[in-house]
């Protein structure tokens, strides 16, 4: 054994030529490229569950095999007298089914004495004192005769022989369960092996002294254009999905689709859009308009960071709801506390607020578009998740004079360079009572077209809205009243509770109440680790001098309002006996789950049927 290690080390020294150190920038670069390439080739693979092969396994090999160069180079160090001296090595991990199509290449550095190299695949546990292909669950293409071996000691004529300088590739198609090899970038037709068992490992075998091969699991560009091959299968599977026969049920499908769209719009409270859609498609909406508008109002309050008001509104409109759901209430209160720190909650804002000036209350409107889980958050975030857009909390713009003009026109990314936005802000500060046109302008700038519709709706809202709203504590007018000053103040200084002493005291008092609530809940329902963590996180904001730039500062991000917003929305819907999730999201979730399940049951086509591919 010792002798083995010695020889490995000496070999490594002579072959590796210093490029072995992990700190080597070249190595890091290669590692980076490998990760990039693997991600691009196998986007459906979840490497936490099923890691991809990245090198040969120093454990899963015969003793006649030596590894070097980050376990990518394989050399033979046995006697090589006859086939009994054959030796193989497997890769560190099996090929995950979610690859769909998997590919690796091996370069023949030296054919050694006789050139008995075998490239292929084998299952865990197959004898390593053999060349790949000779035994059951093992497959290989051999250099000396160009034969393909499919779990048998006798090969079948398959392709040309290969030798020093050739690059041999092995492609496993997990969609139709076939495999083919390539030589110097040219496909050699499908190998005659008919059945493949799952969980195969890339494998190489050598048999005579001097044989050396290098593997490429994606560290370098492949000689064969595997991406082109994959694109063919992607197109095949996409057209299979597109041409999925629906037969006679064409009409049913349309009704289902319309229902999905409509219920989605209703769920998120896009009242006007939903009504228009219903009119155009002649479908019915289950929930009445008032209810939709109520929910939408509450959602907007949460998303604007005015959680206290949202709680009040909920209690007003849906009495008993929060009382029956202390978890939700606690979550809301925690958020309210965070918003107090942020200076956006009305309980602290009232201290700094002067007279309400503008209807333009939602400068941070990026949050109004719903999110669909973490997977595609990016799609929606573009332009929205930069801090510039969130309530005017602008870390880059600390300059006060600047902020005066920029606070409101949150969506314009470079306010200073955009004359229109500057003009707009100026006019807003001097002539703030003329809020109507401004709100329209502002909404255009938020680049959320849905907002535009909603905003129009609101402007008419007072006259057409039901008595219930009129009777409520918050009229539209009031809800929509936000004062630029307060926003300006909070963002310009970014101080705790907007920097107001009274507000800070109110916040501390609120914190105490929250603590009390937590204790009460604890007594009533037993310990709750989630609550405790939530509370800790919220309170720890106060421990830092600049909460926005602290390890828990993430909480202050307006994006964080969305989860609680949708939880509240779902709870309200549930209380009204409506589905807490829109069917569209359910279908999406189910499709995503199905695709993941396909990967688990080794259906390779899942890799080309990803849900994101169909979301634009």
């Amino acid at each position: 054994m010792q002798c083995n290690i010695c020889s490995v080390l000496s070999k490594m020294a002579e072959l590796g030529a210093g490029s072995l150190l992990t700190g080597d920038p070249a190595f890091n670069y290669q590692e980076h490229e490998l990760n990039e390439r693997l991600k691009r080739l196998y986007p459906a693979v979840n490497e936490e569950e099923t890691p991809l092969p990245r090198s040969w396994s120093p454990k899963d090999k015969y003793s006649y095999i030596g590894l070097s160069q980050n376990n990518l180079r394989v050399h033979y160090k046995g006697h090589g007298k006859n086939h009994k001296d054959a030796a193989s090595v497997r890769a560190t991990h099996p090929i995950p089914a979610a690859c769909g199509i998997y590919y690796f290449e091996v370069k023949i550095v030296s054919k050694g004495r006789d050139g008995y190299m075998g490239i292929g695949l084998s299952a865990q546990g197959v004898n390593m004192n053999r060349l790949p292909g000779w035994d059951k669950h093992s497959y290989g293409y051999h250099g000396d005769d160009g034969h393909s071996f499919c779990s048998s000691g006798t090969g079948q004529p398959y392709g040309p022989t290969f030798t020093t300088g050739d690059v041999i590739g092995c492609c496993v198609n997990l969609i139709n369960n076939t495999c083919f090899y390539t030589k110097n970038g040219h496909t050699l037709s499908f190998c005659p092996c008919l059945s493949f068992q799952p969980n195969l490992y890339p494998t190489v075998g050598l048999q005579t002294p001097g044989e050396i091969v290098d593997a490429n699991f994606g560290q370098q560009p492949f000689v064969f254009d595997i991406e082109d091959y994959m694109s063919e299968w992607r197109a095949k599977i996409h057209s299979m999905i597109a041409r999925f026969p629906i037969g006679e049920r064409l009409g049913d499908w349309q009704a289902v689709l319309q229902n999905m769209v409509s219920s989605y719009l209703v769920h998120h409270g896009y009242c006007a859009t939903a009504m228009t859609f219903a009119r155009a498609t002649e479908t019915m909406i289950q929930e009445d308009q008032t209810s939709i508008k109520n929910r939408q109002r509450i959602q907007k309050l949460v998303l604007a960071g005015r959680v206290g008001e949202a709680i009040d509104a909920t209690q007003q409109l849906y009495p008993g709801l929060l009382e029956h759901d202390p978890n939700l209430l606690f979550m809301l209160k925690c958020r309210q506390f965070v918003e107090m720190v942020n200076g956006t909650d009305s309980e602290v804002r009232c201290f700094s607020a002067r007279s309400p000036k503008s209807q333009d209350s939602y400068p941070g409107s990026p949050n109004l578009s719903p999110r669909h889980g973490a997977t595609n958050a990016h799609l929606h975030n573009t332009g929205a998740d930069s801090p510039t857009c969130s309530n005017g909390v602008t870390p880059t713009n600390k300059n006060k004079s600047h902020n005066k003009y920029t606070g409101v026109s949150s969506a314009s990314s470079s306010p200073s360079s955009s004359p229109s936005s500057v003009n707009y802000s100026e006019s807003n500060s001097t002539d703030s009572t003329k809020s109507q046109p401004h709100s329209a302008t502002s909404n255009q700038e938020t680049s959320d077209s849905e907002m535009e519709i909603e905003a129009e709706h609101y402007s008419n809202g007072v006259t057409e809205s039901s008595t219930r709203i009129m009777n409520g504590t918050y009229k539209h007018q009031e809800i929509l009243q936000a004062d630029d000053n307060s926003v300006d103040d909070s963002c310009s200084s970014r101080q705790l509770c907007g920097g107001n002493q009274a507000a800070t005291e109110r916040m501390i008092q609120f914190g105490r109440e929250l603590q009390a609530l937590s204790e009460q809940l604890c007594r009533q329902y037993g310990k709750n680790a989630t609550h405790k963590k939530m509370l800790q996180d919220a309170f720890s904001l106060l421990a830092y001098s600049d909460p926005w730039n602290c390890p828990v500062g993430q909480q202050l991000d307006p994006m964080q309002r969305e989860a609680i917003c949708s939880a509240l929305n779902s709870a309200i819907l549930e209380s009204q006996n409506l589905p807490k999730q829109p069917p569209l999201m359910l279908a999406l979730g189910q499709a995503t789950e199905c695709v993941q399940l396909m990967a688990k049951v080794r259906s390779g086509s899942c890799s080309f049927a990803r849900v994101d591919n169909f979301l634009h």
Partner: protein, 685 residues
Amino acid sequence: MACLLEAPLRISVLSEVTATSRHYVDRLFDPDPQNVLQGVIDMKNAVIGNNRQKANLIVLGAVPRLLYLLQQSSSSLELRTECAVVLGSLAMGTENNIKSLVDCHIIPALLQGLLCSDLIFIEACLRCLRTVFISPVTPVQLLYTDPTVIPHLMSLLSLSQHTQEYITQIFAHCCKTPEHQTVLFNHGAIQNIAPLLISPSYKVRMQALKCFSVLAYENAQVSMTLVNVLVDGEQLSQVFVRMMQRDKPIEMQLTAAKCLTYMCRAGAIRTDDNCIVLKTLPCLVRMCSKERLLEERVEGAETLAYLMEPDIELQRIASVTDHLVSMLADYFKYPSSVSAITDIKREKGDAFYSIILYCKCSLDHDLKHAHELRQAAFKLYASLGSNDEDIRKKITETENMMDRIVSGLSESSIKVRLAAVRCLHSLSRSVQQLRTSFHDHAVWKPLMKLLQNAPDEVLVMASSTLCNLLLEFSPSKEPILESGVIELLCSLTQSDSPALRVNGIWALMNMAFQADQKVKVEIVQALGTEQLFRLLSDPDTNVLMKTLGLLRNLLSTRPDMSSHGKQIMQAVTLILEGEHSIEVKEQTLCILANIADGNTAKELIMTNDDMLQKIKYYMGHSNVKLQLAATFCISNLIWNEEDGSQERQDKLREMGFVDILHKLTQASDPNLCDRAKKAMQQYLA
């Protein structure tokens, strides 16, 4: 299925329809233009998808009237447009419709219409022109008769996606000759069409691509220009490579591969360029796979054969890619003939007959493709096996390959026969195959049959193959000789085609090599001295060389020169005095050496002082090959053991040959030195 109609019925239907059709035509002559317009619109709706109606209207003379209305400047633009639309619709019918339209001079009328400024009208005219021009019955030359047409079409390319689609489609179909290519090229086809390759419309991209494939075909000028064209900052070859990606439509992949193939064959792209080796070749191999349509497989195989014809490396790569050699074997698994049952006597109203007829129709389609597939496969095999011995072996070892070639040689389709003989020719370059599979399958039999009465192109290939079969180590040589091939070969030497003359004389030369005296006499008798001398003055050097080769072989074993000695000597003198290449003269001197080896023939040289002076001259020539051949000649003359050698030695010594020989023993070339020493020994003995 018009063929199923019983004759009487057909007439009655026709007369019925004619009545309504007449009404449509009559309305075109209405004095009120508004009524005419409505009439044309109604006609348009009536003819859509109705071939019989179209035929009727044409018979009733609607076309000239429509053309008149279309050309009248007094007609409203709307009317003119509708006329063009109706004409376009008529053109969509049968080939006969197209013929009638062309006979009515529709093309110049429509081309004239393109000068109008209204886009809708132009598009209607172009659409109709497109339909007319893509028909095989329309003479493409009509596009080029008026020299102003092409530049005008180029200028219309910028108008709309429709004009782009129609015009490029017209170009793609009407560019058939190098002259057409040049006309289009000179009018800026490349610069005008290249940007269309990235058009948002698939149809435009596709037609533009087709244009480039026909423009580049065997055209170095176009191909060289194409490699330097940039489309949106990208090289054209890269644009083509992208179009060959596997997720693109097959039609696009195939046409892009054709473009690159033609550019490569025209010398604009190297054969070892990655875009050829790693992209075009694999793409074309994919096109040969079973998954593709029959038409695609044919085109793919033919293009691939053309691509790799001159390059052994590409042949080697293709031979191992995707098991191409065995994949091609599938090309033969289609019916080669229709059962005789289709020829059964037809009885009136026989349902059985109808069914058979229907089956025959679809079978005919398959049959047509079966021929195409076979000839494409033969072509590709021919190309694959043209250089590499291992590949040839692989091909002949493919299941039933030799049988397939043998039956291909006698197939009814000339295309298949030609391709089969090309394949056989390619394989006949293998010594091993000549000795084994060629003999086992008696390929010479169908080959000989093919040589009777075949068109020239088949004859060239077949006779060339025969040359190889007549090589002395070929076991087929004997049976071929016995089959009386000499007459046939002699007649080939009288052909007008230089290629056939070469092959004829070449085959005779091979036949005469180390042959029995009997065969040699037969050859001489069959060919006749007159023809032999005619060949010796053939303008084609190849013919001359092979004729000399034949002479050399004929004279190789102690020839008896009694019959034609004088003439042969004359011919030899003529050639040695003429302006000929070294090879020709070497061959001639070798003949002379052979003559010098014969008993009676020696005298012919010895008595010819002029000839001896010539030999002397060549012994001192700067070219070693000629020196060697001349020395050979002398050596044969002075050989000891033969009668009169002493006299000859003396005579030649007097003429100063010994001195020359002595000098040559010091030559740097070992062969020459050796030969001279041996000759000197004759004097010393």
